[in-house]
């Protein structure tokens, strides 16, 4: 296993990185987990319950034993189970608070049954629901983490409300899951592939990237993006793609992740591609040296789940190789940063 030195964040993989791999004929859950272990992409193992577990959240005892058996025999350590709060389950209305609580609670119980120490939800799970989940989380020993994903940043009102809420409750059983999509320095190259496939001209993609890179909050730039896209004759579907470019890639300064501590229960090592540059492995769209510094300075010892997401845009790259490269890069950065922090 690519173990980092004691006292440092631990590495791991979410099976979400292997979304395209999971769709290949003949590929099953057991073989996928075994291959993650064989390729030394642990020790942490995360998965999306509604992606990897058929029949979730109603797993019978035999299914629970089977999943646990697969994980145990792989030697990997369950790190986090991503669960969902499908507020739009019924047409025409959102789930009530009672329904939302029940929808999530059964999944937190499922996470505990499978041996996961953390269950991930999104910001659609409100502080009111989280507060109701707290006794269950405590009883089961499963921390419930709210993922902070682009376009959210520390300034977004729901995030500020969560921050206040976590500070007030100050419990280890509720907290944040920072996702690096919120703090990116450039739009990944793989986006170009997706735009090309969607028939979007390179000029329009370049214009959108340029607008993204300009200073100022991204949300304020939507009208300008729509105006320019309409001028260039983009179809509604294409405008949707261009808007996704804004919402999927946040521009928060990586140092701001420090503000989320100490209430961090897990970290998503979101990334879109590692390249072998003149100075070794590097990520053109996420500034990992700055991220690593924050995590080490905050004495974070939980997992960083490598979450390769360029598969949403392109199938040109091998997800296993990409996670391997990110692990090699992160191990080096974390250990180098640790020696700096210790020396201070």
């Amino acid at each position: 296993m690519t173990d980092t030195a004691p006292g440092l964040p631990r590495l791991g993989t979410t099976l979400f990185s292997l979304s395209l791999e999971q769709r290949k004929p003949g590929r099953d859950f057991a073989s996928l987990v075994a291959e993650v272990a064989a390729r030394d992409l642990g020790p942490g193992l995360e998965m999306v319950a509604f992606q990897s577990l058929r029949g979730w959240p109603r797993l019978d005892d035999a299914a629970v034993r089977e999943v646990r058996g697969v994980i145990e025999s792989s030697g990997l350590t369950p790190s986090c189970l991503a669960i969902n709060n499908d507020l739009g389950l019924y047409p025409g209305r959102l789930l009530t608070d009672d329904e939302s609580y029940e929808y999530v609670a059964v999944q937190v119980r499922g996470a505990a049954a499978l041996g996961f120490p953390v269950a991930r939800v999104g910001v659609e799970t409100s502080p009111a629901i989280l507060e109701r989940l707290l006794p269950l989380a405590e009883e089961l020993g499963v921390a419930v983490g709210v993922e902070i994903h682009a376009p959210l940043t520390i300034e977004a009102p729901p995030v500020a409300a969560l921050k206040e809420f976590f500070v007030r409750l100050d419990t280890p059983w509720l907290g944040f899951i920072p996702d690096m999509s919120s703090s990116m320095r450039a739009i990944p190259e793989a986006v170009d592939d997706a735009h090309r496939a969607a028939g979007i001209s390179p000029e329009l993609t370049a214009m959108t990237k340029q607008l993204w890179a300009e200073p100022g909050p991204t949300v304020a730039k939507f009208p300008e993006l729509e105006r320019r896209a309409a001028q260039a004759g983009a179809s509604p579907a294409q405008v949707g793609n261009l808007k996704m470019l804004f919402t999927m890639h946040g521009k928060m300064e990586p140092e701001r992740w420090a503000d989320f501590f100490p209430h961090v229960v897990h970290v998503h090592g979101k990334f879109y591609g590692i390249v072998d540059g003149p100075d070794g492995l590097t990520d053109p769209s996420i500034d990992w040296p700055r991220v690593a510094r924050v995590l080490v300075e905050q004495r974070y010892t939980g997992f960083i789940s490598s979450e390769y997401e360029a598969h949403a845009y392109s199938d040109r790259y091998d997800a296993f190789d990409q996670v391997r490269a990110q692990h090699d890069m992160l191990k080096g950065l974390l250990e180098a940063e640790a020696s700096v922090v210790v020396a201070r």
């Binding site: 979400f16 979304s19 395209l20 999971q22 769709r23 999306v48 509604f50 992606q51 058929r54 979730w56 969902n84 499908d86 507020l87 739009g88 389950l89 019924y90 047409p91 959102l94 999104g122 910001v123 659609e124 376009p151 997706a194 496939a197 579907a237 949707g240 808007k243 996704m244 919402t247 598969h311 949403a312 845009y313 392109s314 199938d315």
Partner: protein, 131 residues
């Protein structure tokens, strides 16, 4: 990225229950499974002619639904990568040979800023029927 996998290259066939029409196999354009109540539409166009939803049915792992039943179906799911069978009736029998099949899937995902789903179109070959 999932859009190009919506329409399956294999499994295109005629109905085998005496009605005229066919079956096209389709996959979910999303990274995880969703309850059928969140599948708002699976629009089908065959050889340029839209097939009304009332003339289609949707089958996942052996369970068949009419589209007007899906909004109430919260206890069954279309899993990621699972091939669902979209059966459709036509006025005339489908001829053997090539057909243009276009499918647009609309998904209701509460936390997405844009409507979920995707579309795909492929030219599929219908094998000559064995008699």
């Amino acid at each position: 990225m999932f859009d190009k996998y919506i329409v399956c290259e294999e499994g295109f066939r005629t109905l085998d229950d005496g009605r005229t029409g066919g079956v096209v196999e389709v996959r979910m354009p999303y990274y995880r499974g969703l309850a059928l109540s969140m599948v708002e539409a699976v629009d089908l166009v065959v050889d340029g002619r839209p097939v009304p939803a009332a003339r289609t049915t949707f089958t996942v792992h052996g369970n068949t639904y009419r589209f007007d039943q899906l909004p109430r179906t919260t206890d069954d799911r279309w899993e990621m990568g699972e091939r669902a069978q979209l059966a459709f009736e036509t006025d005339e029998p489908l001829a053997a040979g090539e057909h243009d099949v276009a499918v647009a899937v609309r998904l209701r995902i509460s936390y997405m800023p844009v409507p979920g789903g995707g579309r795909d179109a492929k030219r599929l070959t219908l094998a000559a029927q064995e008699i």
